[in-house]
Symmetry: C2
Subunit: 236 residues, 2 copies
């Protein structure tokens, strides 16, 4: 792999820097309970996931799309028998998610401190306004040289980010909890991808970890500064 | 004003390059008709606007937020009596908007052709995924040197765009149909703002046109190349 300089480090946000999926799962639980008289819990959850997948291209990632998919699932599952009040409750569940405080994952501020000599780019996808709210609420905004909120994470969108930052893919490390979104597209471009699994990751994000010299895995973000140092020494 | 070089031209998208508000008003008309048995049309429309304003900080701009505000308005206006089928129809109305083809405004391709010697930056706000869809569908993406989709248009967000582009505010012209979003914040930064009114502009965007030497007004985009030329000669 040779001796390399890591010029910039990209960090995913949801479930890499702070909790996210857990709030979706809690809300899903309340949604399932709300529809309990109409169907079995596992059926409701799997129907919701089908609707979310089908709506992904039109709604993108984020809470607003999730709210719209919950409303649609409730209507379809009940053949339109669900009443306005229950749907109002679904809207409230989503609005509570949108107002939820940001819970940083353990070790995040310390890892960012240790990496402060590098250019750090926060690279996330989803709802523009909700991601901006979370970045502001996280208290981490100042640590980043740039923030990129993408509609989707693909080789094409990463390559635009790197072009804007003036960074070559081989000098770039992307870190996140999704093999599909954070590791594979960057490795494809010639950069490094670091997978840090989170106990909860949305089914849509699942992909097998690749066996590739530029694909790495850490158990927690605490190991990131040492991994970056090893990459720069060419030992990783 | 002196002799100046206009280094970059920012163009708003919705209702500056292509139709947008008209689709919201058509959908609003169908929404009002759907609730016709519960309330008077004008009341429904004004209630919807109140809900949209109240939700703006949490949902931001765009069709998904509009859909959620329609559902909420329907529930509130009917005290929860609205049925699931009618709410399903509201979701369909929004999904039709999300799939609508892009209708360019007259003179847009010609004006962009005439401005091709300048750096052109598309600067829009709203839903990331929906704006990206429209940019792709417009056939105009290639004409722009950069695309910036912002959660909101303020002096702060414009200043970030200009920093990224390496352009000084005094060498920048922003063009759009909203005095509030496209003209005032850029004039405040020291740049030029060009207001091109559109027959339909959302109530939330209304603001008085400022009387300021760097605030300009055109009746259509066809006049833009000549205005930019005048600014560069220092006669505008």
């Amino acid at each position: 792999m040779g001796n390399a300089m890591i010029e910039a480090i990209g960090l995913d946000a949801d479930d890499t820097l702070w909790e996210n999926e857990t709030f979706f799962r809690v809300t899903e639980g309340e949604f399932v309970a709300l529809l309990g008289e109409y169907a079995d819990g596992a059926d409701i959850a799997s129907r919701l996931l089908d609707v979310e997948r089908a709506n992904l291209a039109r709604y993108g990632f984020g809470i607003k799309g999730f709210m719209l998919s919950m409303v649609q699932t409730a209507i379809e599952l009940t053949d339109g028998r669900i009443d306005g009040r229950a749907i109002g409750r679904i809207l409230e569940l989503g609005q509570e998610m949108l107002a939820h405080p940001v819970d940083l994952l353990p070790g995040v501020p310390e890892a960012l401190d240790a990496l402060a000599g590098h250019r750090l780019i926060l690279i996330t996808k989803g709802d523009l306004i909700d991601q901006e709210r979370k970045i502001a609420a996280s208290g981490l905004a100042e640590r980043f040289d740039a923030v990129e909120i993408l509609a989707d994470k693909s080789p094409e969108t990463y390559s635009r980010v790197l072009f804007r930052a003036g960074v070559a893919p081989e000098d770039f490390v992307m870190v996140g909890n999704s093999v599909k979104s954070d590791v594979l597209p960057v490795v494809e471009l010639g950069g490094h991808g670091v997978f840090i699994p989170h106990a909860m990751t949305w089914a849509v994000e699942h992909a097998d970890a690749p066996d590739h010299p530029r694909a790495h895995r850490l158990e927690t973000i605490a190991g990131l500064p040492a991994l970056v140092a090893r990459l720069e020494e060419g030992h990783a």
